[in-house]
């Protein structure tokens, strides 16, 4: 077997494992990224969407934020204009969170219709302009 063939075998192994890792990575860690409306549609069609880890991107409904510092509980509602979901989050919200930001809520929708968030990311308003950061 010449060196070129051996190298080709090695290359196929590397490319193959990168491909395999990518496919399995997507399968194991991929999460739906939905708007509240899309979430409502999915749930209506397929109730198994309850209790599935996902991300929901939406606006915080102004005036719905209640923060209990002592128990570190944050409650608010999110909407995309039509569907609306209440969210409960335990922990420290990001600095940029307030009642008029766009958020990405990571968590699960339970049968009680509440999204239990494990993570809340807030997009800062227009003023935090993109400065490429690493």
């Amino acid at each position: 077997m010449n060196a070129g063939t051996k190298f080709a075998i090695g290359a196929v192994l590397i490319v193959g494992s990168v491909g395999y890792l990518m496919a399995s990575g997507v399968k194991q860690t991929g999460q739906y990224f939905l708007t509240p409306t899309e979430l409502a549609q999915k749930i209506a069609v397929d109730p198994s969407f309850y209790d599935v880890g996902m991300k929901v991107g939406a606006h915080v409904v102004p005036g719905t934020v209640s923060k209990d510092v002592a128990t570190q509980t944050l409650r608010f509602q999110v909407t995309d204009g039509s569907a609306r979901y209440p969210v409960v989050f335990h922990g420290l919200p990001p600095d940029t969170f307030n009642d008029s930001v766009e958020v990405v809520v990571e968590g699960r929708l339970k049968k009680d219709g509440v999204i239990y968030a494990t993570n809340v990311l807030a997009k800062c308003g227009s003023r935090y302009e993109a400065v490429p950061k690493a």
């Binding site: 060196a3 510092v69 420290l92 997009k123 227009s126 993109a130 490429p132 950061k133």
Partner: protein, 640 residues
């Protein structure tokens, strides 16, 4: 002619930058950009850096730096590459023209005036008011922009059909420069994210972060594979593709950052600038790759791979891994868009995806970091392998054993540190052998021999220093496997404890809250007393800052100022979450981040190594070093 056009462009853009800085320092709030990013009470340091705080200013900065680099390339390129220069001037001018037209026609003119003059500007986002933010964006930009020069040379070589190995020499240093800026920019960004954003880490696989990593990966691959082309005349197509790809990725990075097509915590600009970039990216990719394809017949390899156990082969695998990592990071970054296009639903992948992929691939790369420099060119013999690998392998195995005995059970972390030991073993062995050879040959003392070894073979030994820095980074990354975190709500006098992975326990006692006004902000500071296993270590302060405008009205969201107690083993990282209204009861998040200090330290060593490799030397000396390099690389078996 072409040269003078680039010089004139450079002069005109420098005047524009000086004018914008002048407007910033004069607080000319009639200029929309000045009003949007600065205010009267903004510290002068940040007023200066507001030049690139916003999109419009960054575009101006981009075009200006490109014209400066372009001019330098035209002036500094040695005489025998002169035939390429008209093409280089053309490519640089085209790219600059794109950025300038975005400014002029894409609604991104930084000199846009307002119909009225506000009394004060709205100030700079507090998260950008950090020393890291003053240096991080320009470093990253310098990295992104300077790739244009090697790209321009690559296109010049393709257009002029002067595709000998010669042109590579002209661009190697530019690629290295770009790589160095990008490395420094990425490290500064990690530092900024760590001390400023308060989430307790330095890398989140955010699309914008990934975008800066992509060209870094492909350039690192190029810096390795270019050696194969120089020495063996192989990989010509591959190297050209890497340079073109790196440049496209840098434009892609700018596009991702500017367009907000991928939801990122860091980037959303509601402007149509993104479309300009997308169009430019597609057009540039189509043009450069079709040119590339027409020239493929001129890019035949001069030699073939002789053995799989050779330096060439190990570099080929190293390149495949770099490009594989780059591809998977690109894939993960674009996955939400791709999945929406293909199946109609957005599916995102987060840090677990990137870690799952890149930890094993990164470890394989780390292993090759040690293996590559030890294997002979062309074909390694068994005695050569034994001679080269005995010591480093022993070091690696002993490192693993010591960690196992010490109780470390995390497989990846163990592998990272053991492979790190192996690589450091190879580097020390190389330095020791080189110094001993000089000692014997010239009778130099060992210290002098080491110094001269490094000075006379900058490229090789500087490269080893970069490898050492990378090892330190990998070990530091492995430390994060042992991160621990806890949250507590404390009244003054109460305390919380957190156990360190090293076995000791920190006790943090809340001493109280103080509030005061500073230059442009109202500060709420919480002070904690820190003790470790009963021994008092000192106090730590963490703040919430509410920035205010000139009239004392609040601007922006409150921001956290993290309290960090850092030593070589671990960081104690304290964030003030909030204070219960009207009381001194406060919520804290305590995090122990092992080995973080080594990230900064490793980054500095990587940069130092890069500088050594790049450091200009006299041409004859460089020739000599090159010859010595080739001979020593092949060891005792053969001379090339």
């Amino acid at each position: 002619m072409g040269r003078h056009a680039v010089f004139a462009l450079c002069g005109a853009l420098l005047v524009a930058v000086v004018s914008l800085e002048w407007a910033l320092f004069q607080h000319d709030f009639n200029v929309e950009y000045v009003a949007a990013y600065t205010s009267r009470n903004l510290p002068i340091f940040y007023t200066w850096s507001a030049l690139y705080a916003g999109q419009k200013g960054s575009l101006l900065f981009w075009a200006t730096v490109l014209s400066v680099f372009g001019s330098l390339a035209l002036v500094l390129t040695p005489r025998h590459h002169r035939e390429l220069l008209p093409y280089v001037a053309g490519v640089v001018s085209l790219v600059a023209a794109f950025f300038i037209s975005v400014m002029l026609f894409g609604g991104a003119n930084p000199f846009q005036r307002l119909p009225y003059t506000p009394l004060d500007g709205s100030g700079l986002n507090p998260q950008l008011q950090n020393p890291g933010m003053v240096f991080h964006p320009p470093m990253l930009y310098l990295g992104y922009i300077s790739i244009t020069i090697p790209f321009a040379f690559a296109i010049a070589a393709l257009l002029s059909k002067r595709l000998d190995t010669d042109w590579l020499v002209a661009i190697r240093k530019w690629t290295l420069l770009s790589w160095l800026f990008l490395s420094i920019g990425i490290c500064l960004g990690m530092w900024w994210a760590y001390v400023e954003l308060g989430w307790g880490g330095y890398w989140a696989w955010d699309p914008v972060e990934n975008a800066s990593l992509l060209p870094w990966l492909t350039m690192t691959a190029f810096l390795h594979s270019v050696m194969i082309q120089e020495k063996r005349g192989m990989l010509k197509k591959w190297n050209l593709a890497l340079i073109i790809g790196s440049w496209l990725l840098s434009i892609f990075g700018t596009f991702i950052t500017r367009s907000g097509v991928i939801s990122s915590v860091h980037s959303f600009t509601q402007s149509n600038v993104g479309y300009f970039f997308l169009f430019f990216l597609v057009a540039a990719a189509a043009a450069s790759f079709s040119l590339y394809v027409t020239r493929l017949p001129l890019l035949m390899a001069e030699t073939r791979l002789e053995s799989i156990v050779s330096r060439e082969a190990s570099f080929l695998f190293n390149n495949l891994l770099f490009v594989g990592i780059a591809f998977s990071v690109l894939w993960g970054t674009l996955f939400p868009i791709l999945s929406e296009l293909v199946v109609g639903t957005k599916i995102t992948v987060g840090p677990p995806f990137f870690n799952q992929l890149n930890i094993p691939l990164g470890l394989a790369l780390l292993a090759l970091t040690g293996i590559g420099p030890l294997i002979a060119w062309r074909r390694a013999s068994i005695p050569n392998l034994q001679r080269q690998f005995a010591v480093p392998t022993t070091v690696g195995v002993f490192t693993a054993l010591i960690l196992l005995v010490a109780g470390m059970r995390d497989f990846y972390a163990l592998m990272a540190i053991a492979l790190g030991g192996f690589v450091v073993g190879t580097v020390v062995q190389e330095f020791a052998r080189g110094a001993r050879a000089r000692h014997r040959q010239y009778g130099e003392g060992y210290a002098l021999a080491l110094g001269r070894l490094l000075a006379r073979n900058r490229r090789r030994y500087g490269g080893y220093i970069v490898h050492t820095g990378m090892v330190i980074l990998f070990v530091a990354f492995a430390g994060m496997a042992f991160k621990t975190e806890t949250e507590a709500s404390l009244r003054p006098g109460e305390s919380a404890s957190i156990k360190s992975p090293y076995g000791w326990t920190y006790r943090l006692t809340h001493l109280g809250i103080s509030q005061y006004d500073a230059l442009n902000r109202q500060v709420t500071a919480a002070t904690l007393e820190v003790s470790r296993d009963g021994k008092r270590l000192g106090v730590l302060t963490t703040e919430k800052r509410q920035h205010v405008d000139g009239l004392g009205r609040p601007t922006f969201q409150p921001s956290s100022e993290v309290g960090i107690r850092s030593d070589l083993r671990e960081d104690l990282y304290v964030v003030l979450g909030g204070v219960v209204n009207g009381t001194e009861q406060a919520v804290f998040r305590f995090t122990i981040n092992p080995l973080v200090w080594w990230v900064w330290y490793g980054g500095m060593i990587v940069a130092l190594g890069g500088l050594i490799v790049m450091w200009p030397g006299g041409a004859p000396a460089a020739k000599r070093a090159q010859a010595g390099y080739a001979v020593r690389l092949v060891g005792t078996e053969e001379n090339t």
